[in-house]
């Protein structure tokens, strides 16, 4: 396993998950795949940590879970964004962009 992959900064996993389920409901494995894909495998996410995060989000009412049949005909738990979740995603995205822009700014001027 290559070590040049990035550790996720604290608290950003939630944002990524929200983004991953923003388009359509996804099951856990698909979310992890999607995160790999979207980050072009640059981010290192321990797959096991995905599930507790999903549940935290569910308890916060940002996503909701539903058992359904997957593409290979097995029962899987699908997660979908709630209205609150979508609002949260937007707010978090903006905050993140501002933050990363600010940090880039600092780093570049230094």
């Amino acid at each position: 396993m290559s070590d040049d992959r990035l550790e996720l900064p604290q608290g950003t996993l939630d944002l990524l998950i929200l983004k991953a389920v923003a388009l359509e409901p996804q099951h856990g494995w698909a979310i992890s795949e999607r995160l790999q894909q979207m980050s072009r495998a640059a981010l290192q996410i321990r797959q096991g940590s995905l599930y507790p995060a999903l549940h935290r989000l569910e308890r916060r009412g940002l996503i909701k879970a539903r058992w359904d049949t997957s593409d290979n005909n097995r029962r899987a738990k699908y997660y979908a964004l709630t209205r609150r979740g979508r609002a949260q995603l937007e707010a978090d995205s903006i905050a993140w962009r501002k933050l990363s822009a600010a940090i880039s700014q600092v780093i570049e001027t230094a």
């Binding site: 099951h27 856990g28 494995w29 992890s32 795949e33 321990r46 797959q47 096991g48 940590s49 599930y51 507790p52 995060a53 549940h55 935290r56 569910e58 308890r59 916060r60 009412g61 997957s70 097995r74 029962r75 899987a76 738990k77």
Partner: protein
């Protein structure tokens, strides 16, 4: 957040299902991952290996997952609970003591509270929308001075005026509580009864459980269609008729009159007066059948006797203000129609004051007024007892914490967070409290019933519905949690502060011991202080009771039998009642075994209260004021001899003091002191007037005798100026009442032994008489029954608190001695005398007790202002009482400390040193 709690709740109740879901979801993930690796060309085993590597520890994930689900808290709680059960079982005696004292504490609190709740807080059970019921009153309802009740009471004529106008409201109702004799003849069979207006039940919204309720037609006096009808209570139905539906249409003899039972009241309806239930209800219209010629429905009594409680139901949406305004608009016509001729002279005064409507709310209740203060006082007392018990348990739990210090510090060292250890102890406390509370509930439901039975007397039975309703259960739960908090917080706090390093100190006497000493010292102060308050209260209440019981009455209460004779059905004209009563008295006096017998209108402490204004001839008239009044009673000759009241001067009444003779009066010492200070009263003349505005004159009387003071209406009062008038010279503007009290003094032996012979002699004169017997002793004792109960309760609770406090002090001192064993041994080896060692042990204890006593004295002084009304014969802040309580507390405390101190003094230094 709602979703959060829903998920947590679900997690609580569907544990296995959730486990399955977690497994399924993770399994699905892993399978997919393996599949995807196989698809890119790895062999299966390698795919599985890589998947697992990437995924991380499966069990750890599951644990985190559960944590995120909120399941972990539940897991921990159940683990703590199991641990708590184990730890309580490890010390069975201590746990049993704790549970028992809690059960007593919580039980006593719940019992008293359930009475308080049903007496003071609950709205009328069984009544539809009781909040829309209002009681009618006016400033001067009882203007004629005839009613001795403090409830607003109205005449029948007045009620008829209201009834006609009740359509302006949601209906009106009137009732009057009474006692009925159900016997067909022979021994009386008294039950509580009530006269009700025709639409009483309809207006209350109460339906019959069997049969029907009354109709307005039933209420028409002398109605012939149905004849006299009655309703019986559910309780009487079950008790006498076995709950048989056949009861409808059956005859029921009430006061010797045949009635027909038409209905049974529903379960859970106890009438409109809290604490006073009824077994038989009859329409107001049947009252003339029962009271005969003395009927309150007939003129002039229909406007003169104030005996009915009148209430209205407000229309839906009708405010109290609107209803009051409507009623006041009708007031002139109502006054016109209801005004007694007897007060026409001052018609401007009658019903001049505006009507007032008061929400009936929790129902009217003389009981409530009478018992409010004692109940609240007892509630306060039991709350203190519970606090003392809590302090004990807190000490016990802290000792347990200390003994488990090693275990706790190991847990800390292994990474247990401090709050987890604290939680463990709080759970233990809650478990103890819950065990105590469930036992307490059983004690409470028995105790509250027993207590009500104590308050109840045959003459005035009390029926209180005491359900374990939400209010009582809520109270118990709140008390339980509060107690667990009170006695659990200190040990929990302490457990949380155990340091991991303590585990390394084998016999460590770390800071925890010192801190514990501080805490337990505080608890001792609390216990001593609260116990002192309880002992002070007990002394006050017991002192009150004793002073009342020892009060010189002025007559021989244990030598007199009272017979109350009702003559309503006797063929006697009201105008000839005087001679008839004299015949009855003579008949009784001639019975063998009777030394003396005499008749009177009222008897001591029977709650009747006649008084008149006195004008001494030859002295300028003063305006009527309470100071110018005197109590009075009408008696037959030899009444004073019967009661053993000494004749100080002059003579007793005799056969010549009759109508047409010289109007005479006998007065007591207090009367002489008030109206003839320093003079000889005998032979003087006085003028008497009655009524608040001196409306009626009773003419001029000559004083022919002076007798000793005797209690008139209450044991708490000082002897009142009292006049005795000859019954044969009755000259009030109304006929003599239909009932007469005959007092009988036996020649020898117990007064109650005379009951059968006296009853036989009376019924031989007239067979329709109903006679109720009671000894004067019972009547006197019942008048301070409330004080007796408060004294017994506060005394027993104070004793319980003393026992608990003594145990607590003993425990604390014994523990301190055990802890300082080595130190004491070394001191003794170095030459300390045993007495010095005892002093060492007792010094700290004495200090704690002193602080507790000072604090307790402060609380007692503050709390005493709430019980002033309950105390008789000694000041609430009686210094002697306080000193007595201090001595008791100091004695108990020193005894509790002396036992362990003596053990300390006997420590063998050699043995201690050998043990190292």
């Amino acid at each position: 957040m709602l979703s959060d709690w829903l998920l947590r709740l679900r997690a609580l109740f569907t544990r296995t299902e959730i486990e399955h879901e977690i497994n399924d979801e993770l399994r699905f993930h892993l399978d997919r991952q393996v599949e995807s690796y196989v698809r890119v060309g790895l062999d299966h085993a390698e795919a599985v290996r890589r998947t697992q590597l990437e995924f991380g520890g499966l069990d750890q994930t599951k644990e985190e997952y559960r944590d995120a689900l909120g399941v972990r808290v539940v897991d921990e709680l159940s683990r703590d609970l199991r641990l708590a059960v184990r730890s309580l079982r490890a010390t069975p005696v201590a746990s049993a003591v704790a549970v028992l004292s809690l059960a007593l504490g919580v039980g006593a609190n719940t019992a008293i509270f359930s009475i308080v709740s049903s007496l003071l807080l609950r709205t009328l059970p069984g009544v539809v929308e009781p909040e829309r019921l209002v009681i009618m009153s006016s400033g001067n309802t009882n203007d004629t001075g005839r009613s001795n009740s403090d409830e607003p009471r109205w005449s029948y004529g007045f009620w008829k005026q209201i009834e006609q106008r009740s359509h302006a409201f949601g209906g009106g109702l009137a009732w009057s509580a009474s006692r009925f004799d159900l016997s067909a003849g022979g021994a009386t069979d008294m039950v509580d009864g009530v006269f009700t207006s025709g639409e009483f039940f309809t207006t209350l919204g109460v339906r019959a459980s069997v049969g029907r309720t009354f109709t307005p037609e039933d209420d028409i006096p002398g109605n012939v269609t149905t004849g006299p009808v009655a309703m019986i209570s559910y309780a009487l139905w079950q008790r006498r008729f076995g709950g048989s539906p056949e009861v409808i249409g059956m005859p029921l003899t009430i006061e010797r009159i045949p009635f027909t039972i038409v209905g049974v009241t529903p379960v859970g309806f106890f009438g409109t007066e809290v604490g006073r239930s009824f077994d038989v209800a009859v329409p107001l219209g049947t009252e003339p059948l029962i009271r005969g010629s003395q009927s309150f429905l007939k003129a002039p009594f229909d406007r003169f006797n104030f005996w009915l409680v009148v209430a209205l139901r407000l229309k839906a949406g009708q405010s109290l203000e609107t209803a009051t305004a409507i009623l006041r608009g009708m007031q002139p016509q109502i006054r016109e129609g209801a005004q007694p001729e007897i007060v026409q002279a001052r018609s401007v005064e009658f019903l001049k004051e505006s009507f007032t409507l008061t929400p009936i709310g929790t129902g009217i209740s003389q009981l409530r007024r009478a018992y409010r203060q004692p109940l609240l006082a007892i509630l306060f007392v039991v709350a203190l007892v519970l606090l003392v018990a809590c302090a004990n348990i807190a000490n016990l739990q802290m000792a347990r914490t200390t003994n488990r210090r090693h275990e706790l510090s190991v847990r800390r060292a292994l990474g247990g967070p401090p709050w987890r250890l604290a939680q463990q102890f709080l759970i233990e406390s809650l478990l103890l409290a819950a065990l105590g509370a469930s036992a307490g509930l059983a004690i409470a439901s028995w105790g509250s019933r027993a207590l009500v039975a104590q308050f109840s007397t045959p003459a005035s039975p009390i029926t209180l519905d005491l359900p374990l309703d939400w209010r009582v259960l809520g109270f118990t739960m709140a008390v339980t949690v509060a107690t667990a908090g009170v006695f659990g917080i200190a040990p929990a706090f302490q457990a949380g502060r155990v340091a991991p390093i303590d585990a390394l100190k084998a016999q460590g006497r770390g800071l925890i011991g010192e801190r514990r000493a501080l805490w337990s010292g505080g608890l001792v102060v609390l216990q001593v202080g609260l116990s002192l308050v309880l002992v002070v209260f007990a002394e006050l209440f017991v002192g009150t009771f004793q002073r009342l019981a020892d009060r010189p009455l002025g007559f021989d209460s244990n030598r007199v039998l009272l017979a109350r004779v009702e003559t309503a059905h006797a063929p006697v004209e009201p105008s000839t009642r005087g001679p008839f009563y004299q015949r009855l008295v003579t008949a009784v006096a001639s019975v063998g075994g009777v030394a003396q017998a005499a008749g009177s209108m009222s008897t001591p402490i029977d709650r009747s209260n006649y008084s008149a204004f006195v004008h001494v001839t030859g002295i300028p008239r003063e305006p009527a004021s309470p100071g110018m009044s005197s109590k009075y009673n009408f008696v037959t000759p030899s009444w004073f001899a019967t009661y053993g009241i000494p004749l100080r001067a002059g003579r007793d009444f005799d056969g010549h003091d009759a109508r047409g003779g010289l109007p005479v009066v006998i007065v007591n010492d207090a009367f002489v002191r008030r109206f003839f200070p320093g003079n000889n009263a005998t032979g003087s003349t006085i003028g008497l007037t009655v009524g608040p505005r001196e409306e009626y004159s009773l003419g001029t009387k000559t004083i022919v005798g002076v007798v000793g003071d005797a209690i008139y209406s209450s044991l708490r009062e000082t002897p009142q100026p009292t006049m005795y008038l000859p019954l044969a010279q009755w000259d009030l503007p109304i006929p003599l009442s239909g009932s007469i009290n005959i007092s009988i003094r036996p020649a020898a032996g117990s007064p109650s032994a005379l009951v059968p012979v006296v009853n036989a002699a009376l019924t031989a004169v007239e067979k329709t008489l109903t006679v109720r017997f009671q000894t004067l002793d019972t009547q006197v004792n019942e008048s301070f029954r409330q004080e007796r109960i408060v004294a017994v309760l506060s005394g027993s609770f104070a004793a319980l608190a003393l026992l608990l406090a003594g145990l607590g002090l003993y425990g604390v001192t014994a523990y301190a001695v055990a802890r300082r064993r080595t130190e004491i041994g070394i001191r003794m080896a170095l030459g300390a005398a045993p007495s010095g060692v005892m002093g060492l042990v007792l010094a700290r204890l004495s200090l704690l007790i002193s602080v507790g006593i000072v604090a307790g004295a402060g609380i007692s002084l503050w709390a005493s202002k709430f019980v002033g009304g309950l105390i008789y014969g000694l000041p609430p802040r009686d210094p002697t009482t306080l000193i007595g309580a201090t001595i008791v507390l100091a004695a108990v405390g020193l005894l509790a400390g002396w036992l362990p101190a003596r053990r300390a003094a006997r420590i063998d230094p050699a043995e201690v040193l050998r043990q190292g």
